[in-house]
Symmetry: C2
Subunit: 274 residues, 2 copies
């Protein structure tokens, strides 16, 4: 099997930074998984004793806590601060931006619209910075049923697709007097998505490598499927099924922003062997 890598893929700035922070802070805990890649989380626990704690209440007794790349809700942060826990902030700077924007715009009286998944930890964090209840919509269809104000501020989960953000923006522009749009989709997301859009149109089969709960990985997979019916999402080489490759000659590979190179290399190696 011939293999072609996407022009851009894999680790982004925020993930690299968070992993370096974790490796420098052995024996600490992170509140929720640091990044959405179970294999890398396993490695950090095994090699650096960085453990995952899901319950903010249980962290009280810990000496130090790493804040995950996705950020955490404002109240959780306040709770940790009140407890005197040492906070090591690995929130991606591109995630801090929508938090700050939502805080400022809601204070200025703008109705907040967040394009994102309400249950994703990044979005939960962003929501918590709004002083008024924001509208959280995962699609244009969800927005169309909502009551809109005259002055609206729009931010996006950093890993969403730009064309879908533009659909939502266009709807707001035609229904509101003023729309203040902050394109908070991060550049790595945008570049990785563009690269998958290109590559999936020239291959027989696409393999996206990444965590199954990783938002940016799922978006890459969704884009790949649009252009290449034979697209698959795998967490590592064990998920590869040789029957997928029967009759295929060229396989495209991309990987989410939280997928480490060692996992991608193993997947690539195994596919080359088919």
């Amino acid at each position: 099997m011939e293999v072609k890598m996407a022009k851009n893929y894999g680790f982004c700035f925020g993930v690299k930074r968070a992993i370096e922070i974790a490796q420098k802070n052995k024996n600490s805990v992170s509140l929720g998984p640091l990044i959405h890649n179970p294999k890398e989380i396993e490695r950090l626990e095994r090699d650096f004793n960085v453990r995952v704690q899901e319950d903010v209440g249980a962290i009280k007794s810990q000496k130090s806590v790493i804040i995950r790349t996705h950020g955490i809700p404002k109240d959780d942060l306040a709770l940790l601060q009140d407890e005197g826990v040492r906070i090591i902030d690995a929130t991606c700077p591109y995630v801090i931006k929508p938090q700050q924007i939502v805080e400022k715009m809601s204070a200025q009286g703008y109705q907040i619209v967040i394009f994102g998944d309400a249950n994703h930890p990044e979005v939960k964090g962003v929501i918590s910075y709004s002083s008024t209840p924001p509208l959280v919509v995962a699609s244009l269809a969800e927005l169309q049923t909502q009551k809109l104000g005259k002055r609206v501020a729009l931010v996006s989960q950093t890993t969403k697709q730009t064309p879908k953000l533009l659909e939502i923006a266009s709807f707001l522009i035609t229904h509101c007097a003023e729309v203040r749009i902050f394109n908070t989709i991060c550049n790595a997301t945008f570049d990785n998505q563009e690269a998958v859009r290109d590559l999936s149109q020239e291959v027989d089969i696409m393999v996206i490598v990444g965590g199954k709960s990783s938002s940016n990985t799922k978006q890459l997979f969704n884009i790949a499927k649009e252009f290449c019916a034979d697209s698959y999402l795998v967490e590592d080489f064990n998920d590869l099924d040789p029957t997928w490759f029967v009759g295929k000659t060229l396989c495209g590979i991309s990987a989410g922003a939280s997928t480490p190179d060692w996992i991608i290399a193993d997947v690539r190696e195994k596919i080359l062997g088919f």
Copy 2:
């Protein structure tokens, strides 16, 4: 010939208001034509002695001047005020809005983008309220060659097409960190355009009635042509050519926001007779 009128067409709020103002102020002058309809301007001069003066310098000696629906540049207004001329403001309130927005946003450091025709009087007026040189673009293609700042405010000439404003907005959203979008396309324009979009898809021939220098009339004509190859722009019934209607059964009619009912009625009457 059967005739079908568009669902919305003709005189808008701002034009009606301006004509009422002119009729109440006999023997006055307007700085430039009050509205972009030569036949109606002739009627106002003939019946109310409201004359058109193109040169702001020549108005010095006049007792009172009517400001046209399109507004005038800030400096011209200041000149008239300094001269002690009595100002009767017939600027459409929907045109005052982009003037105010551009003044405020440029003062706050936003790069101003105006979607409009730089030579149209409305746009000249809006430009004059920007404290920094604005980008004035008549199309997305014109915008793509420009250097953009991080924080941009976008307004539109009131008579432009919404889908084209959305194209420009989308480009800005993908190229700037913050885009503040004020949808200043007026409702009458939007409704008239939507109605032409619908009607031109169900008729054999479309006739748009309005002044040939009227921006909103030209937009209606452009939309009609998109969907109905046999579309024509006429200023009044004299422009109708019977050969256009040969072999046609259903004629759609719409009219610009500055086209008076009496002109439209004459056009309709003549078409019914073909």
